[in-house]
């Protein structure tokens, strides 16, 4: 699957930069424009690749966001480009109400970048094909142990486990990389929030709690003395060690 191309249109340069940077970091192709006119030129440019999504500020000097949207909707080439409006004031929100039918979504300023990214993901998901990528992303499984990252839940044989957030994240990370050994430090960095500072032993206890809840799969969370923890399935058997008792 190719990367999605997203255009940001906003007269505030800082905002453009922030959005662009974050979109790029999130793995999209992103370009930013400070006016509707510029953006329009870019979109209409037959050289440039097709655009998959527009983040469009409503209130801009010159051509407004609405006007740009209308232009695009009028053109067969561009009418199916999804648009997420960025709206500054409540006053605009009203107008947006009417427009919203044609829009794919809108975000009210001030917004958090996280929020925008979520909308972007949602819209692209909705419009785009169901790529196997994003499907496997939310379903993770080993045998009858399933993880549904959408519902932040796990089940064994269909029976739901009630995992706490820590346990869930732990399991998810380990299950995502079967066989990989994570040091306690790595687990702390990747499962626990950045600001908290806790003992490495904390990992042990949470692993223990997780093991208990995992019942027969509990044994899949193995500790590798001196290294850390790892999820191992049956396939990776430890039974047949090459360096077993020398019977000579």
């Amino acid at each position: 699957m190719d990367k999605k191309r997203i255009l940001v249109v906003d007269d505030e340069r800082d905002l453009c930069d922030i959005l662009r940077f974050n979109l790029l970091s999130a793995g999209y192709l992103a370009e930013a424009f400070c006016s509707a006119e510029e953006a329009l030129r870019a979109i209409r440019n037959p050289q440039s690749p097709a655009c998959d999504l527009l983040l469009l500020d409503v209130m801009m000097p010159g051509m407004s966001g609405f006007e740009l949207a209308e232009c695009l909707k009028a053109d067969k080439q561009t009418m199916s480009i999804p648009i997420i409006f960025l709206t500054a004031k409540d006053a605009e929100a009203d107008k947006l109400q009417g427009f919203a039918l044609g829009a794919d979504d809108y975000v009210a300023k001030p917004f958090s970048v996280r929020e925008v990214l979520a909308r972007v993901r949602a819209v692209l998901n909705r419009t785009a094909d169901y790529s196997p990528q994003s499907m496997t992303d939310r379903q993770l499984a080993y045998e009858e142990l399933l993880i549904d990252s959408e519902g932040k839940s796990a089940t064994i044989d269909g029976r739901p486990l009630s995992l706490t957030r820590t346990e869930y994240e732990l399991l998810r990370l380990l299950l995502e990389h079967p066989g990989k050994v994570f040091s306690r430090q790595q687990l702390l960095e990747r499962v626990w929030p950045r600001e908290v500072i806790v003992t490495e032993r904390t990992v042990d206890v949470n692993i223990a709690r997780l093991r208990k809840k995992l019942n027969r799969y509990g044994a899949c969370l193995v500790s590798r003395t001196g290294f850390g923890y790892s999820f191992v399935g049956r396939a990776m058997n430890k039974g047949e060690e090459a360096n077993e008792e020398e019977t000579d």
Copy 2:
């Protein structure tokens, strides 16, 4: 695993020097640049080795840190380079808030060097697993003796050996440089933790333990009297010495 290459970009020369010195002391390769433009040139220079992490000041004359970050994110070659932002003022902190999602981390000035080093370690730890680098040298092998650095394990003919951490690290280092002779001192420095101080004889015992577990490959760990130890395959035969006894 090779040393990580870290670039420091800050217009304050003193700060650059301090960070560079400390990074070097911590065992990284570190270079410092006083402007985003310089840094960009260095990163884009096809001659120079790949960069593993960027410590990037936000506010700089000329190209800002954010702009440099955007440039890098836009380029496929450089977009996965982790970035830690160094930000000076609270004013910037706001903007940074926006960038924070896409950034790998950020540190607010004034910061303690210790803090920066911690972040560096954390980010490198977090990203290490996915870098193309570690993908390639994740698997190490000699004939049917395989080392999987992800699972911190080794197998012979597919059968897993249970190596302790010391044994594992020893084997890994030696196997990484077949034919190279390591003195005991070198082995101590490279596989034992920095702070511990142990006898050179300790190496011998651990080599012995490793040999036993390696079964038929045990003989590949040869001692070179007076020099140290080395991993040698069959190809490197010691049979044909020029100055041998002519007993036939």
